[in-house]
């Protein structure tokens, strides 16, 4: 018997207490949706998990009105300390129900239980914990004394880190004093619906958080709703563009966290074994369904063969399979649509002339799967060097000098993240200085922390989530406004210091 064929180590689903169908969570209760209900399935075997309500325009109206009422009558009148206490309660409940949430997430999303258990859910709790502490300390956020909330926030999140993206949206919004209507992604509503139960356990005042399930139409109705003050969106650049356009002129504050095609730069003086881990983590963690994935490996030409060789050896111990098996490293692709897109772009890669290599993985019969794939001999002009695949596909390019690495890394409309691998501190910092990316990881990758701001340059979006900077998206800035009129005999007051919103180019 081969030891490496580890015996099954399934995480039990018995911890789940799923309903057969879920309604919309509005005003602190589950209510009926009036759109056409849909199903959520497990992408690992295409089995049905539950039926989920869909919110139509009237439901969206109700949700927004409920959030508005809760803002006006309860949440905006509540002290920051009390808002913080609710958020602390939520954090603790997430910790208490951590295993249940992790299993639900892996079941619905397809990601390995090892990741939802060890990465996603702990970060969710941490995010609520961190922002709980800010709720009564907004004076220190760097936005002037007693900054005010915006009101009702419309939040639309993607399917790749369902519960974590929910935490990234809800925690700062509530800490800052806003109420929320959030739409989870169509293929991954489950953890959000269990989260709604947690909100009931926390006794969060009704209407402060509303969770409405649905597809693109629901999302569009929500972000375009006239009584929404703030829109926060994480998802594709294409939809982000559409939102930026449709909300133009409405006065709504927008933050967008969009796609990426991050460069993971490996220099010849990189700590080699850790760099290999960093490459693997960068593109194969979460099946590559990561906006900040290191999908372009930029390797210094003089160590290219060595790196690729080691990389291939390393990939031979990656385990693809049942997301609920504790030893699985690579889970299922979230949906048929996404799988088709990954396959299509991979075929393009071959046609463009790149050399394709795929890890030897046994692919289950049912479900959506894609084995880790590496394309070498990729040039900057190839589509697979420019377009986001959002799957476990790595494109490998080379460079000769640090300056060339930087130029290639920056040569993209995206600018979300980047990785730098080198044992030399001065080079790491100089390269980091010049990368046009919102998050730069040096000798590590895919590190997230509620205290650390995250967000992109250029077409990867604008605004930051996490850290003190993450509060700015949900508070009124005192810095923007007209010059006061000249009063005879008195000099005009200097305009208030501009707040530094993260909309850099």
């Amino acid at each position: 018997m081969s030891f490496l064929e580890y015996a099954p180590a399934p995480e039990s689903k018995a911890i789940l207490n799923l309903k057969k169908s879920y309604g919309l969570f509005i005003g602190g209760e589950f209510v009926d949706g009036h759109g056409t209900p849909f199903q959520t399935i497990s992408p690992a075997d295409e089995s049905l998990i539950a039926e989920v309500a869909s919110a139509n325009a009237a439901d969206v109206d109700l949700a927004v009105a409920t959030a508005r009422r809760a803002y006006d009558s309860v949440w905006s009148r509540m002290s920051g300390a009390d808002r913080g206490k609710y958020l602390f309660r939520i954090a603790r409940l997430v910790q208490e129900r951590a295993r249940e949430l992790a299993v639900a997430e892996s079941l619905d999303n397809g990601k390995p239980i090892k990741e939802s258990r060890d990465v996603d859910v702990p970060l969710v709790a941490a995010w609520f914990f961190y922002y709980a502490g800010w709720a009564d300390k907004l004076d220190y956020a760097g936005l002037g004394a007693a900054p005010r909330a915006l009101g009702v926030a419309a939040q639309v999140i993607p399917w790749n880190f369902p519960l974590l993206m929910l935490a990234w949206k809800i925690a700062p919004a509530l800490a800052a004093g806003n109420t929320v209507v959030l739409k989870p992604a169509e293929t991954t509503p489950l953890s959000a619906l269990i989260f709604a139960e947690i909100l009931q356990q926390a006794e969060l005042p009704a209407g402060v958080v509303n969770i409405i399930t649905g597809a693109g139409d629901t999302g569009a109705a929500l972000v375009n709703h006239p009584d929404v003050n703030k829109v926060a969106f994480t998802g594709s650049t294409a939809v982000g563009r559409a939102i930026a356009k449709s909300t133009a002129g409405t006065g709504k504050k927008i933050t967008l966290e969009l796609g990426g095609k991050a460069a993971n730069i490996v220099f010849d003086d990189a700590p080699i074994d850790q760099a290999i881990e960093g490459i693997v983590n960068g593109i194969f963690f979460n099946q590559g369904h990561v906006c900040c994935a290191g999908s372009r490996l930029l390797v210094q030409e003089n160590v290219h063969d060595e790196v690729i060789d080691r990389l291939k050896q390393r990939l031979s111990t990656l385990r693809l399979g049942d997301p609920l098996d504790k030893n699985t490293d690579i889970g299922a692709i979230n949906s048929k649509e996404q799988l088709d897109r990954i396959r299509e772009l991979s075929n393009v890669g071959e046609e463009e002339g790149a050399e394709r290599w795929t890890a030897d993985c046994a692919i289950p019969d049912k479900g959506f799967w894609f084995a880790p794939t590496i394309f070498t001999n990729v040039s900057s002009s190839h589509r697979i060097a420019r377009e986001e695949v959002f799957g476990p596909v790595l494109s490998v390019l080379t460079f000769r000098t640090p300056a060339e690495a930087i130029a290639k890394a920056n040569n993209t409309p995206y600018g979300l993240s980047a990785g730098i691998w080198s044992d030399k501190g001065s080079k790491v910092l100089a390269v980091a200085d010049q990368l046009r990316a919102g998050v730069v990881w040096a000798n590590t990758f895919n590190r997230f922390d509620p205290a650390s701001p995250f967000g992109g340059y250029k077409e990867s979006g604008y605004g930051r989530e996490g850290g003190r900077h993450g509060l700015a998206a949900y508070l009124q800035s005192s810095g923007f406004g007209p010059l006061p009129e000249l009063v005879e005999g008195r000099t005009p007051k200097k305009p208030a210091k501009k707040s530094t919103k993260g909309a850099k180019k």
């Binding site: 018997m1 030891f3 099954p8 074994d273 881990e277 111990t317 504790k326």
Partner: protein
């Protein structure tokens, strides 16, 4: 500023193969200093990730038996007596009195002057490689654990142990020399000890080189010392004496396995790894098996390429084994104190 003299080193085969015939302390140092650095945070994260593997049911049963087969059952106390050593050997020969199917450890590890006692106690079972299996006698030597003695004394220590019948020698490197940059001295000592492992019949006692990673302190040092020990002719690289804390850790063992992997990719030759000290539970030992299999390959999970230097680990494994067979949690009364 002076120009260093290029002092010639003892002509160890692997070193010549890799560095060239012009083998000097200088060329050795250049090679060792040119090795890739280790990012400690990344190394430890990878070790932590390997620790999350869940080894259950049939895999666990296999792993438990394998762990036993890989143990060098050890007693290294100043207070060791013939009685203590005989008791240890008896335990190695019959680890679980209630279960004759229980495998045996690969070796017993004792001080050099206790080798005759161990050899006599083992009787016909002495010798790992005999048909039907057996148990080797490993002796620590070279002024273990500190290594602070003249080369002459360290070689005499080694020769005595070999003459007494030791099948394996666990030597310590001179950490003081290593930390003060005298790589040539460390190298030559290993070569000399390897030579002192020659038995009367011309074969060699197999040599494990203890780096004492706790004293080397940084992972970069461990990487260099691992390469140095392999180039000088060691058959195994070993983490620790067990007398210094920290002893074996998963990250440091992972690093040493990576070096062994690199050497194998480079030359096709397989070097063994032995973590020693501080591995007390089956749970921990299983993490090491996983780390070996996923770093350098399952092939290394055999006594010629991997050992655990341990004493109390054996009983914990036996307790786990008993649970797997009986279905209930066991207790200390059901395993023998050796």
């Amino acid at each position: 500023m002076t120009v260093e003299q290029a002092i010639a080193l003892a002509p160890a085969e692997r070193a010549i193969q890799l560095i060239g015939a012009d083998l000097t302390e200088k060329s050795l140092k250049l090679h060792l200093d040119g090795l890739s650095g280790v990012d400690a945070v990344g190394l430890e994260a990878r070790a932590a990730d390997l620790s999350t593997r869940s080894i259950k049911t049939t895999s666990k049963a296999w792993a438990l038996d394998k762990i036993i087969e890989l143990i060098d059952l050890t007693t290294l106390e100043g207070a060791d007596t013939p009685g203590k050593v005989r008791s240890l050997v008896a335990k190695a020969m019959t680890p679980d009195a209630s279960d004759p199917s229980c495998p045996r450890p690969a070796a017993v590890c004792v001080y050099g002057d206790m080798v005759p006692v161990a050899a006599e106690a083992l009787g016909s079972l002495k010798g790992l490689d005999q048909p039907g299996g057996g148990i080797n006698v490993a002796a620590v030597a070279t002024a273990f654990p500190s290594g602070r003695a003249s080369l002459a004394v360290k070689l005499a220590d080694t020769r005595d142990a070999v003459a007494n019948g030791a099948d394996e020698i666990d030597m310590v490197i001179d950490r003081g020399a290593f930390l003060s940059g005298r790589y040539g001295l460390v190298f030559d000592q290993i070569v000399a000890v390897k030579d002192a492992c020659r038995k009367a019949d011309g074969s060699f006692a197999h040599l494990k080189v203890i780096l004492e990673t706790g004293e080397l302190n940084t992972y970069d040092n461990v990487r260099r010392a691992s390469w140095l020990s392999i180039l000088a002719g060691g058959d195994f690289i070993k983490t620790s004496t067990g007398k210094v804390s920290p002893a074996a850790t998963l990250p440091v063992t992972l690093l040493m396995l990576q070096v062994v992997n690199d050497w194998h990719r480079l030359t096709g030759e397989k070097i063994g790894v032995k973590p020693a000290g501080g591995i007390r539970t089956s749970k921990d030992a299983i993490k090491y098996l996983v780390t070996v299999a996923e770093t350098v390959g399952e092939e290394w999970l055999q006594p010629h390429l991997f050992r655990f230097g341990a004493s109390s680990l054996l009983n914990d494994v036996l307790l786990q084994r008993q649970k797997l067979t009986t279905g209930r949690y066991s207790g200390p009364d059901y395993v023998t104190i050796d």
